[in-house]
């Protein structure tokens, strides 16, 4: 089947979803009022609460939620064939992610700009808050460990991408200095930095000496490395140590020095990446060679497909962004439709092109099945396949394949590194908050909390032997990531449903996706925790069994609370204006 046709169908459905469904939700269900005084005006403080133009806010919201995750999930999920992944991305975005992101934004706007975390505390109480913190702690620990492995893996597979990625650091520090100290505008310096990075990528792709190939320094793939490890494992070790030192420094420096300027450069990369991919698709006009559906024996698509593609269809983290920052900046209540719903659609567009880049890569369906031979192979190689597929699309823009793959690898590593920076910083905040809750003042110190975050992440990566070899210990816990994230989305949808029911509105629009997503999450968890990882299961794993059981108990607890709160006729827990 022709890939442009599939992309057109997907984009057209997204358009219909925005044009009609979001209009119905905005006007008939949320009943957005253009005259409502939003928290941005009511509590305006020039910092958190600032009325912002809806187009600017959409751009900011979209760049905050789009990153490596909407690329990674779909690139793995095509294992079950492209059609299930396509259907879930398109309809998941229209009926689940759209109302979830839009709903959390509208709910937060009507509740003084409070975040879903705070609103959930009011619903499930103080114990709920602590459990909430632990769940997010486990989530960010997994993100740290897996993204460190992903970056190390990409550095080993695409050694030409190392130099451009590292050159971004001094460039970012320079921009930080120019913007902060000398009040220069940031567009020109960040575009210059981007140009320098891509120029370095082009040079590194052509000149082998500029490719920092750590494996070859230890005698190639068969060579002997350090401490009795092979060359590849030693290279992993070296990269992970370098990355951990980097994130320690990055997450303790003031944000304007490194993280913010890096974000300016990376926000351009999102636009460049999307332009390369969609224009490349238009010019190469490729055929989809991967099978429509792929019968598998090891891992069933039901329910794992709905957990594997989280960002790109529906993700709990988006609710945190919607209600955490975007809701405090909404100028008019009616803007929530464009910012929230169209923000989710933007990410759906990224997930759609990720699917198409992978499924047009292989010359035949047989070649696809050979590469995607098992779920483990799909998980380990998904991102690499996306980069190769994307660079094949970029050849349509007359960019040579080796340069295109280097540039796409640089884009993906930059996204992953931004997620790593942010999640180490987030982990530091959570450790500090737990220190405050349990009265351990030492944990509230920045360097103590950061050291715990970095050392525990490095230990998770390096100590256990993960399913993808040395250095992939983070993947041991990774099966829990999707479920914990979807649980978060379920809680947000539940909060919106309660709010709508109290207002006597049509709450089925959020209750149905909530039941769907919680059912899939519980199904996947029970199947994995009790039938696979338990001591009587086929694949006993104590670590996963214990963590999985904790999250499962939490999920069931939320369900019980949900039913009781939904049946409760007297509104006392969640008051809205």
């Amino acid at each position: 089947m022709n890939a442009i046709a599939v992309a057109s169908i997907g984009l057209f459905l997204f358009f219909l979803g925005y044009r009609f469904y979001s209009k119905y939700v905005a006007e008939r269900v949320f009943k957005l009022d253009p005259n409502y005084v939003t928290p941005a005006h009511k509590l305006e403080d020039g910092v958190d609460f600032v009325p912002t133009n809806k187009f600017v806010l959409w751009g900011h919201h979209f760049t905050s939620v789009a990153g490596a995750a909407p690329i990674l999930g779909p690139a793995i999920a095509v294992y079950w064939g492209w059609l299930p992944a396509f259907i879930w991305v398109v309809f998941g975005t229209i009926f689940a992610a759209g109302v979830h992101d839009f709903g959390t934004l509208a709910l937060s706007v009507r509740n003084k700009g409070q975040s879903v975390g705070t609103l959930a505390n009011r619903l499930i109480g103080q114990r709920g808050k602590i459990l909430f913190l632990f769940i997010i702690l486990i989530l960010v620990l997994m993100v740290n460990a897996v993204f460190a492995w992903v970056i190390a893996n990409l550095f080993i597979t695409f050694p030409a991408s190392v130099l451009p990625v590292f050159i971004q650091i001094p460039l970012a520090v320079w921009i930080g200095y120019a913007v902060h100290k000398r009040s220069k505008n940031m567009l020109v310096p960040s575009l210059v930095a981007l140009a320098v990075m891509y120029l370095t990528a082009i040079l590194a792709a052509q000149i082998p000496i500029l490719q920092i190939d750590v494996v070859s320094y230890f005698g190639g793939e068969e060579g002997a490395g350090l401490f009795g490890l092979g060359a590849v494992s030693t290279a992993f070790f070296v990269w992970i140590v370098i990355l951990m030192v980097y994130v320690y420094i990055a997450s303790t420096l003031p944000v304007w020095k490194l993280l913010q300027p890096r974000d300016f450069i990376n926000s351009h990369q999102l636009i460049v990446g999307l332009a390369i991919l969609y224009l490349g698709l238009l010019f190469t006009n490729p055929e989809i060679t991967a099978p429509l559906t792929n019968a598998t024996t090891d891992v069933s698509w039901f329910p794992l497909l709905f957990i594997t593609i989280a960002c790109g269809a529906i993700s709990g983290f988006h609710g945190l962004v919607s209600s955490g920052t975007s809701s405090k900046q909404i100028n008019k209540e009616t803007d929530a439709r464009f910012v929230g719903y169209a923000g989710a659609v933007g990410e759906g567009v990224l997930a759609l092109i990720s699917i198409l880049a992978v499924v047009t890569l292989f010359p035949t369906a047989g070649a696809f099945r050979e590469t995607y031979s098992s779920f483990a192979a799909a998980s380990g190689g998904g991102l690499g396949n996306f980069i190769l597929g994307a660079s094949q699309l970029a050849t349509g823009l007359l960019i040579p394949a080796n340069i295109a793959s280097t540039i796409v690898a640089v884009i993906v590593v930059s996204f992953a590194a931004t997620s790593l920076d942010t999640s180490v910083r987030l982990m530091r905040y959570i450790i500090s908050e737990l220190g405050q809750e349990y009265n351990v003042p030492a944990l509230t110190k920045a360097h103590v909390a950061t050291s715990i975050a970095v050392v525990s992440s490095a230990a998770l990566v390096l100590l256990p032997k993960g399913p993808n070899g040395f250095g992939s210990g983070g993947f041991l816990l990774w099966p829990l990531f999707g479920t914990a994230n979807q649980l978060l989305a379920g809680i947000s949808l539940l909060l919106i449903s309660i709010w709508l029911k109290r207002l006597s509105r049509n709450y089925w629009i959020t209750l149905v996706p909530m039941i769907f997503i919680i059912f899939m999450t519980l199904y996947a968890m029970i199947q994995q925790v009790f039938l696979q990882w338990s001591f009587w299961g086929d694949n006993t794993n104590w670590l996963l069994f214990i963590f999985g059981s904790i999250i499962l108990v939490f999920a069931l607890w939320i369900m019980v609370t949900a039913v009781s709160v939904l049946r409760d006729k007297t509104p006392k827990v969640l008051d809205t204006e």
């Binding site: 600032v50 940031m186 567009l187 974000d263 300016f264």
Partner: protein, 85 residues
């Protein structure tokens, strides 16, 4: 055409600078809060030898002080020495 391009670039720059502006404003606000604490520490029971001089700044800071206590979730001024509302 050129006008449209300029508008597009201005919009684009505003998008990428939005979170940055927030971070800078947050840092400045934290510095201001610390400065307030130093100026009016006497009211919290911390001796301040230059209290009489810092009091002269009071009329210039009353609005910011009002914003501060609202932000901290207090509808009325918590300090009996400062009556702003």
């Amino acid at each position: 055409m050129l006008e449209h391009m300029k508008k597009l670039l201005a919009y684009y720059e505003e998008v990428i600078s939005l979170p940055h502006k927030r971070e800078i404003a947050l840092e400045l606000r934290n510095e201001d809060d610390l400065f307030f604490l130093m100026l009016y520490s006497e009211m919290l029971g911390i001796p301040n030898p230059v209290y009489y001089y810092t009091l002269e700044l009071y009329p210039y800071m009353i609005e910011q002080f009002h914003d501060w206590h609202l932000r901290m979730g207090m509808d009325k001024s918590p300090l009996s020495g400062i009556r702003c509302c």
